[in-house]
């Protein structure tokens, strides 16, 4: 496990039991079973996992919202269970469900929260930056999902925290909101803030995270930078890189004429009418032969796509492809 030079958050062997639950004959349920992670300043650390993996519980233990059953947590060097107002002022939290009163209006609400801090950020700047000025007269209950998320982010940032927790920050975001929120997260990271977020979306992790912990079944199953995780397993099976090339061309091509051009082990098929894929350990010479075959046949593909492994493949390899 990596240890950043100045971790804002260190979790070692976190355990959280909930219950007793009637569904388990009055037994306790262990929802987090040994999660360990470190998050540094000026970095985005992502907890990636399916719903129910234990991401939110881990975050809530770190925020002091839930008491842990075992393990240790240091948030800015302190135990969050014993945290006072001074520590809470240095930590911003955006909850999964927002946590904003439905009848409140954005500006008075932000001003109210700002009042809890000695050195809050200027509200006007924050509001303008997140585009909240465009809906500042509506009550929270009338806001769209993306607007609510932006307001919740503003509420988490208004105290100018050193550490920012974001629980599923892209949930319910429309493309514009997503752009605004992701740009801001990157900027805050660059300004030195330590950002810890959870997500079940590979795309979020791939776009935002400097370091990713994959959580499954209440404990970490893999970690690394996005690049490291992508390498993990890329040469895993006998050192061979599986790739998929797909192209659209007129339907009903005689694939036998192409088979001689391609190497053994490659699979060429027409999945739907006019939609073809080649999968296997594709090498540059295969591409040359494929395009030569197109030239022979007088084919100009309408589209062409070459894909290596995505973080999603890595994630599914690690945490299994079963539906839970």
């Amino acid at each position: 496990m990596r240890s950043p030079e100045s971790p804002v958050l260190s979790i070692e062997g976190l355990i959280k039991d909930v219950g007793p639950l009637a569904a388990l004959d009055g037994k306790m349920l262990r929802v987090v079973n040994g999660v360990s992670l470190h998050a540094g300043r000026g970095q985005v650390t992502a907890l990636l996992g399916a719903n129910g993996a234990g991401k939110t519980t881990t975050l809530e233990c770190a925020q002091g919202l839930q008491k842990r059953s075992g393990g240790s947590i240091r948030l800015l060097g302190e135990d969050p269970d014993l945290a006072g107002a001074a520590l809470r002022a240095r930590v911003g939290v955006m909850l999964q469900d927002g946590g904003l009163p439905p009848s409140a209006r954005p500006l008075p609400l932000l001003r109210h929260i700002a009042g809890m801090y000695a050195n809050p950020l200027p509200i006007d700047t924050l509001v303008e930056r997140l585009g909240i000025d465009l809906f500042s007269r509506s009550s929270v209950r009338r806001l769209s999902g993306g607007q609510k998320q932006r307001l919740a982010l503003a509420a988490a940032l208004v105290g100018n925290p050193e550490v920012l927790f974001l629980d599923e920050p892209s949930a319910g975001l429309d493309p514009q909101s997503r752009q605004i929120v992701f740009e801001l997260i990157a900027e805050l990271r660059d300004s030195g803030m330590g950002i810890i977020l959870t997500t079940h979306l590979m795309d979020d992790a791939q776009r935002l995270a400097d370091y990713v912990y994959i959580i499954d079944g209440g404990h970490n199953v893999a970690e690394g930078t996005v690049a490291e995780l992508l390498q993990h397993g890329e040469s895993g099976k006998d050192g061979i890189t599986e790739r998929t090339l797909s192209f659209d061309a007129p339907s009903g091509l005689d694939l036998r004429t192409a088979l001689g051009a391609l190497a053994e082990g490659l699979v060429l098929s027409e999945d739907r009418a006019g939609s073809y894929t080649v999968t296997g350990a594709l090498a540059p010479e295969h591409l040359a032969r494929l395009t030569a075959w197109w030239a022979e046949q007088g084919i100009m593909p309408a589209s062409l796509r070459l894909e290596a492994r995505s973080l999603e493949d890595v994630f599914l390899d690690i945490s299994g492809r079963d539906i839970r």
């Binding site: 107002a85 809470r88 009848s103 109210h112 200027p122 303008e128 805050l188």
Partner: protein
């Protein structure tokens, strides 16, 4: 969203993050919750309109005749007790129940306000709204001819605050343990039941026998009786004081133990 403001945000917060002083945080939360309660229409009906209607009802009907004092003098202390039940139990209970549902309690407890600041703010809001109710009901009552014992204000206000504490503890206990819809039903139903038969506005001696016996041990009956003792005779009602203390300590401890924040 102009690009010029992009850099501002990161550089704007050069001062280290720090909490505002505790006193200011609680005062702010108290003010915020007070305004939220006053702006809520249903809340206002429960807190002011219904108690005033009850006051008119009790002064124009002979229900309180023959108890040794003018109708209005017997009615007003009970109406003030009813106000405390409206605000501390039903109003604060419902507001807290829905705040819990929407995650507001969890979010605010991650800010410098914290859980204790949040509770302190709620208590402050209950006291502030109660003061407004006292002013309105007191003014209307004065017009109706209320002439309280001047020595009644000290024990009366003390009992009113203690009663508000008991009903706040009960309201938070309900709000923190059941769904907000259930909190809404329970606190409204109890408000009607205790208001009519709990010895709060109609003295226990005028209630049906079963309700009359029970009322002495209910927070409603104890507060109503203590308020009448104070404003009619200028005395501290010690038996009622101990009943109210019990209704503050036990539900308060239960709320600390069983209140679920999420």
């Amino acid at each position: 969203m102009s690009n010029s403001s992009a850099a501002d945000l990161a550089s704007a917060g050069s001062a280290p993050s720090a909490p505002a002083p505790l006193f200011r945080r609680i005062l702010l939360q108290g003010k915020y919750e007070t305004l939220a309660m006053i702006r809520n229409g249903e809340q206002l009906i429960l807190a002011v309109i219904l108690p005033l209607l009850a006051l008119f009802g009790l002064t124009v009907t002979p229900l309180l005749d023959g108890l040794g004092a003018p109708r209005v003098d017997i009615a007003v202390p009970g109406i003030l007790a009813l106000c405390a039940m409206s605000t501390a139990f039903t109003g604060q209970g419902i507001a807290t129940g829905f705040d819990r549902r929407y995650g507001v309690l969890r979010f605010l407890s991650t800010t410098p306000l914290g859980r204790t600041g949040l509770i302190a703010g709620k208590i402050l809001a209950v006291l502030a709204v109660l003061a407004l109710q006292l002013a309105v009901v007191g003014a209307v009552a004065a017009v109706l001819g209320w002439r309280p014992d001047p020595g009644g204000w000290l024990p009366g206000l003390a009992m009113l605050v203690l009663g508000a504490a008991a009903f706040t503890a009960l309201g938070l206990l309900v709000a923190g343990t059941v769904r907000p819809e259930a909190t809404l039903a329970i606190t409204n139903l109890l408000w009607i039941l205790l208001g009519a038969l709990g010895g709060i506005v109609v003295p226990a001696v005028r209630l049906p026998a079963v309700a009359s016996d029970l009322a002495h041990f209910l927070p409603s009956g104890a507060l109503g009786e203590a308020m009448r003792e104070a404003f009619l005779h200028g005395t501290f009602a010690l038996p009622q004081l101990s009943v109210l203390l019990l209704w503050t300590v036990v539900p308060g401890a239960a709320a600390v133990r069983w209140f679920k924040w999420n």
